[in-house]
Structure formats: structure tokens, C-alpha cells
Symmetry: C2
Subunit: 308 residues, 2 copies
């Protein structure tokens, strides 16, 4: 396809030197604990561009997740497309019924945030109570008093002890579109594809995140930014070929994906390494802060898979 070039020798050498290069920030992969995905909450979104794997979050958005799973079972998304795609912002898919006001389905209740679970005062109630897993990333990050990870999902909290916690609009999160009414979400969803639009936090129901195939999402065809991303021509849109729940496939046909456990010591060590850049590469020492949306959450695929 491409002629041999005088630079190929140079490129071979790269492979040897790769890990010495321009530091990504020390993935510390040996210390990581890897979790398998729950097939009941894993979605395979198949596009012309490839397969995207989405992890659903029934803790933060139980009703939306239930509803989305029902839509998948009903094959609602077959023959729908990414009709509104703004590079650097969001890729929105569905039949467009949400944004033209003709809601096709019964509207969804907003699930923007949940209570931070306090230990029950009553001894009996406290039986079996478990604190929410929370890995702190940053205090006072402009948009929230605290950011962190909850079971692999980027999240934020207010500073009230009996306060709220919510999933943040980082690249790769999946959320329900809506109209002005908070309870007007229905079927159209979007994936964040650019710099985190954190101003949307607590205003939309985040119900999943892309754990594999973000490169595929980035190939979704864009619309014109100055026309709000709407793609008028059907042929210019990326169409949804299939959406399936992993559990609907036999175990042997599922994607063997593992994601880093954000509650594990190895992940916390990775955060520390990113916060305190010790490498001599850093001529100017960066401030000891972390953007929760700029932390890669490692994922790996154990064996290749071709969707059938």
C-alpha cells in the first residue's frame, strides 16, 4: 500500500526505545487489578466504523439503564444514526424524536445525581451497609469541590457530607439527550467526543461510558459545527448496524475485556505518579493537580474478536 521508505529503519528502532519516550504518565500496569465487565451491563454498539463497547451504570442511573436495555431488546436503534455530531463536543444518535419534541417513547425521569450514602445511624439498618467506593482525584477542580472515580466512572461530589455525587461529562461518557424539561429524555443518546463539557454535569443523565473502541467513536462522521452538528444528508451519517447486550450472546462469543479497578492500590499509585511528575523530562514541574477527565482508565482485550 505504501512504498518502503528510508525511514523504516528509524521506525524499527522506535520500538526498542518506545517506553523511554515522551512520558504518557507511567501506566504502572503491573500493579493494576483488572475487572471483567458484567455482561448484563455491557453493550456492543456496532457501526460501519467498528464496534464500541459501553459499560452501563445502574447505580447512578437505574431507570435509564433499564429503559436503554429495553430499547436494545426491542431493536429500537436499528435503522437509526448519529445525526448530530460536533467535533470536539458530542456525537448524538437515535431517531431524532427527542430534539424535535415528538418524543417517541415515554419520557424518562432525570437521574442527574444521587445522594452520597451516609452510614445509617440505626444499628440494625447499618447491618450490611457498605460505603460507596471512592478514589479521590482532585479537590476544587473549578467545576466541583471533589472529583474522583467510582468503580471506573469519573465522578464528582459537592462538599456537603450529606451531599450529592454525580458522573462527570468526560470524553467517552454516554448520556441521554433531552429537551428543556429535565424529565424529557427518551431514546436519543450522546457520547462525549471532545474536551470535557463539564458545564453539563448534573444537567443530563450520564448512564454509561465507552470502555473500548473510543477510536471507533472518533471516526463517526461529523456535522457542520455552525449548523449545530446536524447532518442533513442520510448518506453522510454514521448508521447503527446493531446494538446488543453482551449477555444476549453466548459467553464464548463475548468480548473478553478487562478494565482497571479504579479502587485498587495500583490505580491510586498511577494517580500519584501523574500528580507528581518525577521524570526528568519535566523541565518545568507541573502543578500537583489532576483533571479527572485526563486520567486514562486502562482497558485490555484478551483475545481478538470479530463481530458476527
Amino acid at each position: 500500500m505504501m512504498p518502503d521508505s528510508p525511514n523504516r529503519t528509524g521506525l524499527r528502532r522506535i520500538l526498542l526505545a518506545a517506553l523511554m519516550a515522551f512520558p504518557l504518565g507511567c501506566l504502572a500496569q503491573d500493579d493494576l487489578v483488572w475487572n471483567a465487565l458484567d455482561p448484563e451491563n455491557t453493550v456492543y454498539l456496532e457501526l460501519q466504523e467498528g464496534t464500541v463497547v459501553i459499560q452501563l451504570n445502574p447505580v447512578f442511573a437505574p431507570k435509564t439503564v433499564e429503559h436503554f436495555k429495553q430499547l436494545i431488546k426491542d431493536q429500537f436503534y436499528l435503522g437509526t444514526s448519529f445525526y448530530r455530531v460536533i467535533d470536539g463536543f458530542v456525537a448524538q444518535a437515535g431517531d431524532g424524536s427527542d430534539i424535535d419534541g415528538t418524543v417517541a417513547d415515554k419520557p424518562l425521569e432525570a437521574e442527574f445525581e444521587i445522594d452520597w450514602p451516609l452510614e445509617p445511624e440505626d444499628q440494625e439498618e447499618a447491618e450490611g451497609w457498605k460505603p460507596m467506593s471512592w478514589t479521590l482525584v482532585q479537590k476544587d477542580d473549578m467545576f466541583a469541590p471533589f472529583t474522583g472515580f467510582i468503580d471506573g466512572f469519573p465522578a464528582a461530589r459537592d462538599d456537603d457530607k450529606a451531599g450529592k455525587v454525580w458522573l462527570t461529562h468526560c470524553p467517552g461518557i454516554v448520556a441521554m439527550a433531552r429537551n428543556d424539561d429535565p424529565d424529557s429524555g427518551s431514546t436519543d443518546f450522546y457520547i462525549v467526543i471532545g474536551q470535557a463539557p463539564r458545564y453539563l454535569d448534573r444537567n443530563l443523565t450520564v448512564f454509561g461510558r465507552v470502555v473500548w473502541g473510543m477510536d471507533v467513536v472518533q471516526r463517526i462522521k461529523r456535522g457542520p459545527a455552525l449548523k449545530n452538528g446536524i447532518i442533513e444528508d442520510d448518506l453522510e451519517r454514521s448508521w447503527i448496524k446493531q446494538v446488543r447486550l453482551a449477555s444476549s450472546l453466548e459467553a464464548a462469543r463475548r468480548l473478553d475485556i478487562y478494565v482497571a479497578d479504579t479502587n485498587s492500590e495500583g490505580f491510586v499509585k498511577m494517580l500519584d505518579g501523574r500528580r507528581d511528575r518525577k521524570q526528568k523530562f519535566f523541565h518545568h514541574k507541573p502543578p500537583r493537580v489532576l483533571d479527572v477527565c485526563q486520567v486514562p482508565i486502562p482497558a485490555r482485550l484478551e483475545k481478538p474478536w470479530v463481530p458476527r
Copy 2:
């Protein structure tokens, strides 16, 4: 290509309702002042995936820009590729000579930051002196005391009046790769393709930004994140077909691109609109802050163009 679907009617309706939808943040395009690009500092980077237009910044990185233009004239990048691409981070191109330590070209001096230009005290020197254009975006954004725009480029300043100002690592910026030595940049460059890695600010020479074709950049083939993004197989890489300076083409064959003037009143109004979200869509009022890397800098193409 795609059969007519029952949702097409719904999608037609979208077009009418498009601007009522889920607010992008009010582009206020009528008020914007549009600037043409300087052909001497505009680069057409042509890939299999499409054409990317890069605006160079000779104010912040005069030597690097000069050097890059010379490499373009020498056709250095023909037969090179994006050999290190990490989704959500950077796409790095060149012959790989930088990162394997066998620098192909004479190393470049670091141009990480410049002095904030103070008004000369001497009356005579002050003749013709012009302050640097600066459109404030945010105070204390975690990574810098001030962020803002300087002639279309996202930038940051420290809080010392006689301090430093630098271009920030936002999505779409173009910078020189290097080894540990600050002055070891040479030919390999990268484009930021994910959440802003602001910890790299003041550590690498940012010398340009993508003003058109970021969707093309997002289609560049990714490498494995756990292998530092290095793409071993030549056939799996995105290759550079051509790199040209706009001024090397006849005027009639240049891309007719205009970018929003970030010093103009219209742009400042747009910033205000994004900072103070008045739309009733916002059930939870976001904090009155702005991430300099999450502000779209509008650009438009006046007439279509096919590279020849």
C-alpha cells in the same frame, strides 16, 4: 447505501428544530469578526484520511516555525507517518528519529514560553509599542493563574506582571516532540487529540494549531495505549501524503478559511454566554467558569476545495 428507514421523517423534522436543541453554547456568529489566514503561516497536511489545516504561530515559536517551514520545503515529511498515536492523548508523526535518540536534524532550542510584553519605560523605545492582544477566559483554572486567547491561540499566563505567557496543550494544538533535554526537539511533531494534557504546558514547544480538519485528525489510526501508542505494522499507520505551505500554492488554489477573531467583541460575548448559562435548559446552574480548552474557536470554509 442505507435503506430508507422509518425514522427518516423524524430526522427531517430535526432540521427545523435543530437550533432549539441541547445548547452548544450560543455561537453568536453574527457578531463575530472573521480573519483570513496568513498563507505564509498556514500548512496543508494531507493524509489518506483527508486534509488538515494548521495555523503556525511565529510569535511564540519563531525558530520552530522557521525550521518546520524549511522541513516542509525540503519535503522532509514525505514518506513519514503517524507512528505513535494514543487515543485521547496525542498523534505523533515524523520519522521517529526524535524518540530513538538518533536525531536526524540539528536540535531545536526550546520555545516553551515568552515574556509578557511590558510597556517600555523609555519614551523612545515605547514608540510603536503595542500591547499583546489578550482575551481573558479564566482566573485560577487549576493549571495557571490566568488563561485566555492570543490571536486565536489558547494561552496561559502566570500572575507576575513581568511574567511569562505560553500556549496551552488544548485539543488541536501542534507541538514538537523531544527527548529529556529541553533543546532536543527536531522533526517529529504531535497533535493533541484528547482531553487537554495541560501538565505538558511549558515543557514542549507549541508552534501551531489545527484550524480545519480536526475530524480528519480524529480518524488517524491509533496504536495500542498499553504499548505507548507505537504502531509496529507500517500498514496500520496513517501516512503523510503531502505537507505544503499555503503560500506555495497559487492564491486561487488555496483553501478559503476564516477563523473567528478571539479579540473581537463578538467572541468576548460568546465567552460570556458560555460562562453564564442563562438558557432554561440548565436545571442546575453550572459554576461561572470556563475551561480555555473547551471553548470552540469558530472557523468556516467559504468554498469547497479538493486537494490536487
